[in-house]
Amino acid sequence: MTEQGPGGGHAPSYDLECRNLVCRFGDFVAVNDVSFGVPEGDFFSILGPSGCGKTTILRMMAGFLQPTSGDFLIKGKSVIDMPPNRRPINMVFQHLALFPMMTVAENIAYGLLRQGINRIDARKKVEDALERIGLPGSGEKKIKQLSGGQQQRVAIARCLVLEPAALLLDEPLGALDLKLREHMKVELKKMQDQFGTTFVYITHDQSEALVMSDHVAVMNQGRFEQIGTPQDLYYQPATAFVAGFVGDTNRWQGRVESVDRDTVKVITQDGVQLLATAAGGEALSQGSQVEIFVRPEAVVITLESERITSQDNRITGELISVLFNGANSRALIRDRHTGGELDVALPQTGEFSHLQRGQEVHLGWSLAHAKAFIQKESGG
């Protein structure tokens, strides 16, 4: 939808730039007119649900797949006709693709030797790289002798020793268990800082993308929905898909009753009247079908109804359950009138720690925090 490059405007100093990439498999359009630029040293993520075409984009960038149309530039030069082994970018594969018949050191030295660097210099660089990824002295080990996280780091080091213009990573944390994944998120970000390389990172996990990235592109059904900083995506989603996919959110569907500049009055399917702000840059008019999104932390929760009289939207509900998770605790609340469920962030003060099941609570939120998007026929 919005195709402004990250950082705004069209600065010519992009490290990588895709222009109107299209990839068709027969009748199926896997990647549909995607354009974006990645500035030097950027951590750029492509975030989207499974099967939306992320890997396809990356394979076109790495050179394993010829796009149906469009262009791809590295440092301003088109490389669309260059075979993968000549492109100055490297890829970390989804299942790492470390060479099992070689040792750790041989894996890291592989690309160096292919560049024609002599063995002595290559060995020095390999030792240096092992040091930097915290595996000094592990050069002679077989790949199988390393843990999942260590293999991860070797796979990345194997590319980074080549000092590529950019590193492409295809869900590299997908195969790890949850705990290790949390740890590797921080580790990856540190590694990127240390080597100062541009990263293009693919993931379907929105928290990974938000935590690590400088810029994120949200992808759906072969198209980019929005490109921006994690904050942009979270606070100013451009489309209903982005609002629903990035971060947790409460949502309602309804029909516009009246429009007053940006403010819309909506009657939901359950007959509740809500005030919201028009978003997504499309004109809303009376009778439009819309979706309203409200973040859990934008909802004020209280036991005394008079404390939220200033809020634009108010609901009375009963507590279903408290999902305690330290600072990220949530309450699940059922709307008294409609039976709809709401996800609400609990303040960290602890004043709600004694909430009882079935207790009556009052919820309120301002219309600025409620975003209304036109509802698409086949919206995600």
């Binding site: 082994n85 693709a97 060479f99």
Partner: protein, 289 residues
Amino acid sequence: MSLSLRSAVRLNLILLLIPVFLWLLLLIILPHIDMLLVSTQVKVRPRVYEFSFANYGEFFSEPLYWRTFARTAIMSIAATLLTLVIAFPVAYYIAKMLRGRMKSFLFLLCLVPFWVSELVRTFGWMILLRESGVFSNLFQWIGFADGPVEMLYNDATIMVGLIYTSMLFMVVPLVTILDSLDDSLVEAGYDLGGNAFTVLRTIIIPHAMPGIVSGCIVVFMLTLGNYLTPVLLGGKDSLWFTAQIYTQFITRFNWELGAAFGFLLLFLSSMIVWMGLKLSRQTLTETMG
């Protein structure tokens, strides 16, 4: 309870293994022991035999015998290597380039020649290659040759026949092992700057090594022990070692010398396989496992 259970399991295992042991004992070990005994007998007078290694001595003292053996071994090694060189691209194409039905179809196509007996298959070659055969007539008709061309009874023809017979036994293990090669390893090889040759040398071949070795062992053994193809396509001058063994047993009724030859064939072919394993740094368990 657990004790009786365990002994029951053991009894089952023994019962299962009995046919295997019987097979080994009756069909492999016993005949070979008998062969060994026969090979160390020398006839002094009619029906009187003495213990002696003279039969083995004869192999080394008579140049025809050991030269025939050396020739057989070298041609078998050459046939094995040529089969490998031809089968590898075929196997790679079937395993990596094709998907679905086309893949099974081509794989099956490799099998088709084996629906016909080896004898008939070899006669097929003879019909094509003999003096009054299809190719000879074709060449004359085109004008490549003035008179009939005899293409049978030379080493090149033996080689073609041996390779043709061996293809399947090389293609099958190669397809199996190449199928198990993760495509992303090959892609990673290219991505890190490798070209087609280095990717083949550093990634594909090391991965395929167990399949290459097991294919080579099977093909080498089959070629070395082949009788029909060299004799029919090579004629009298084929000088194949199995033909020597046949001559000793059947034509000359010299079972003692024939048995000694049989043992030498077994021993020397084992040595060659062992050397091949050493050279390729593979172990037998790795290859067969």
